[in-house]
Amino acid sequence: MDIAMTTAGDAATVRVSGRLDARNADILSRELDECVRGGWHVLRMNLHDVEYISSAGIRVLIKFAKILQGQGGWLEVLEPSSVVASVLEMTGTMPLFAPRKEQSAATATAGASGCRQIGAMRCTVTASAAGVSMRGRVLGNPAFMARNGSFAPGEVRQLRLGVKAVALGIGAFAADHAGAKGHYGEFLAAGGVAVALPPDSNGQPDFVVSEQRLVPELAVLSALHLEGDFAVQARFESSPQHDGLPGLSDLGAAALALSGASQAVMVALAETSGLVGASLLQSPEGSQDAEYFHFPEARRWFNLTPERVHGRQLVLLVGVFARQPAVPLADHLRPMADSADALRGHVHAAVLSYRALPGGSLALPATLADIFQTQTPLDLLHLINDDRAISGAGDSLFQRGVLWVSPLGEVDMEGGAQ
């Protein structure tokens, strides 16, 4: 069997020749999977030279037709050989693969809004609303870690996170501090879904999805809590004019550019090429004089990825970016790179198994509800650009994805030590 592929726009033409039996169907399935991961939403299968097709072959065609349908694309069969045509006819599957004339959802929206080049990325705005921004508040003071753990139980705040809330920080699913004790770790929340990584869970994140009257609730040591609507939704992918893939800093720069503000909230669903970050190994509360950032004690406190991990997965990113932020927001942001005018940010990432994102404009809550209905997050990381010379793992890298962005207005202080 031979497989040859040519691409144009978001359509790929795949020419198959030879026998499409169980063994070859498996090979074809892997090739088509790469096509879908590569962002091609319309697959044109030219089966003119296929001399035999078994049920295994038909099953692959049906599988990808369904996957692409979920993404606003489709799979069509062109010039089937007489053998293929008669088998598809007999099985009644021919109409499923009928060639179409319309544009795919992704192409349609791209045509409507056009592309924007932002740094190393090509962004296509798929939805926008004028005059929208988010309000924010900070809870607790992350400086308790810099102060070596001199943290008082009275500093714990409760956070209930509705569908319009975006949040990240250190917390635990619990109704109060007593229930959260020993379980505080990184968390993120957006679109009605909250994910937290208790350090005592052997690396298994827990999650709560809003459903009817169930709302995720966390006890938090420190957090950024943003609320409101998103102003811009955009697709991004690596720009053909640039070598390399977009990193976290590029996403931050794009979030600011798309929001048109000096500080912005970003939620993203992205396909990863590799993530670099850290998570807590122990719940940080109640350890008086714990020297979190001292070497070698830091080894007991932090799990830092020594190289990029979780490549080729889907990731939910929640973050805030700003240039020259004011206090109290500034306390919760850190430089994204080692330079004087560096962009500052704070981003948490929940890692999910790969699945292709649907095309077109997406509603964040519905998209997340759909994903979390069948998936358990694999990991949660506080992303860190490890730009140390030689030994550094570098920045997190992404293939493509969807960004939801909003300008961040005033940020208030609530609770916590000054």
Binding site: P142, M145, A146, N202, G203, S222, A278, L281, Y292, F293, H294, F295, P296, A298, R299, R300, F302, N303, L304, T305, P306, D331, H332, L333, R334, P335, H346, H382, I384, N385, D386, R388, S391, G392
Partner: protein, 270 residues
């Protein structure tokens, strides 16, 4: 019962090559318990094994086996109490002697054994039965030289020889690491059966996460000369290969977290 109290061992002390291989390790293995020891290279798991076997002597601490303080006993003296199987299938048997001769030597382990011993018909029949239990058809080749057998067959025989005298302790030192997967499975099955049937007190060092997850009633993970994890009973039964790989990954990451990484976290983690 094996009772290790606060033993330490440093190789090449006071030189640039100084290695603290074992740091204040204490471990009690009750009668009939099957302990699996895992660890990265240089974690001290092999040194621990050697200290138990008497191949080296601890700098401090004591080792008790079957109610006797064996800390200062030499390797040969301990052989009366300890059955050992090594990684190398060639090191547990005498290659030029026949299967039955090797077995007969093992049957007299810890006793005086001159070259003048005779194999009575009854002894031969008994040993033949034991060899037959291996299910490898070796009982019909009793007079063949051991050197003519495959690695898996030799390791199975070595295992049988090690348990023939029902030792107070069975020490297995990565005894399947040099075997192909099929022979390894076979030797592991024999190990499991023999230990269970004879209720042997066993300490097994392994590199195989699969063996570590599925064998024994207690799992010990060594890191930098110390016992990092000690999982027994219910916790041991719930362990999966993935959990062990995650533990190793955590250790690897901790080792990679150096002073510059700690500074990175200080400036970037919030």
């Amino acid at each position: 019962m094996l009772n290790i109290k606060d033993i330490s061992k440093t190789f090449n002390p006071g030189t640039p090559d100084e290695v603290q291989a074992i740091k204040h390790v204490s471990l009690t293995v009750p009668e009939g318990s099957f302990v699996v020891v895992i660890g990265t290279n240089g974690s001290g798991k092999s040194t621990l094994q050697q200290l138990i076997a008497g191949a080296c002597v601890p700098d401090s601490g004591s080792i008790e086996l079957a109610g006797q303080d064996i800390t200062r006993w030499g390797e040969h003296r301990r052989a009366a109490l300890i059955g050992r199987v090594f990684q190398n299938p060639f090191s547990g048997t005498a290659p030029t002697l026949s299967i039955i001769e090797n077995m007969a030597l093992a049957a007299r382990r810890g006793q005086r054994r001159g070259l003048g011993w005779l194999l009575s018909g009854a002894v031969r029949r008994h040993l033949r039965e034991r060899v037959a239990e291996l299910g490898m058809g070796l009982e019909d080749r009793l007079d063949n030289a051991i050197g003519s057998l495959s690695g898996g067959q030799r390791q199975a025989l070595t295992l049988l020889m090690a348990v023939l005298q029902r030792p107070s302790l069975l020490l297995l030192d990565e005894h399947t690491a040099a075997l192909d997967p099929k022979a390894s499975d076979q030797v592991i099955r024999l190990t499991r059966d023999m230990v269970a049937r004879e209720k042997l007190t066993t300490v097994m060092v392994t590199h195989s996460m699969h063996q570590a997850a599925h064998l024994g009633d207690r799992l010990i993970m060594m890191v930098n000369g110390e016992i990092r994890q000690d999982l027994a009973d219910e916790r041991k039964r719930r362990v999966h290969v993935e959990d062990l790989l995650a533990l190793f990954e955590q250790v690897r990451r901790a080792d990679r977290l150096d002073a510059s990484a700690a500074e990175l976290l200080r400036s970037r983690y919030v």
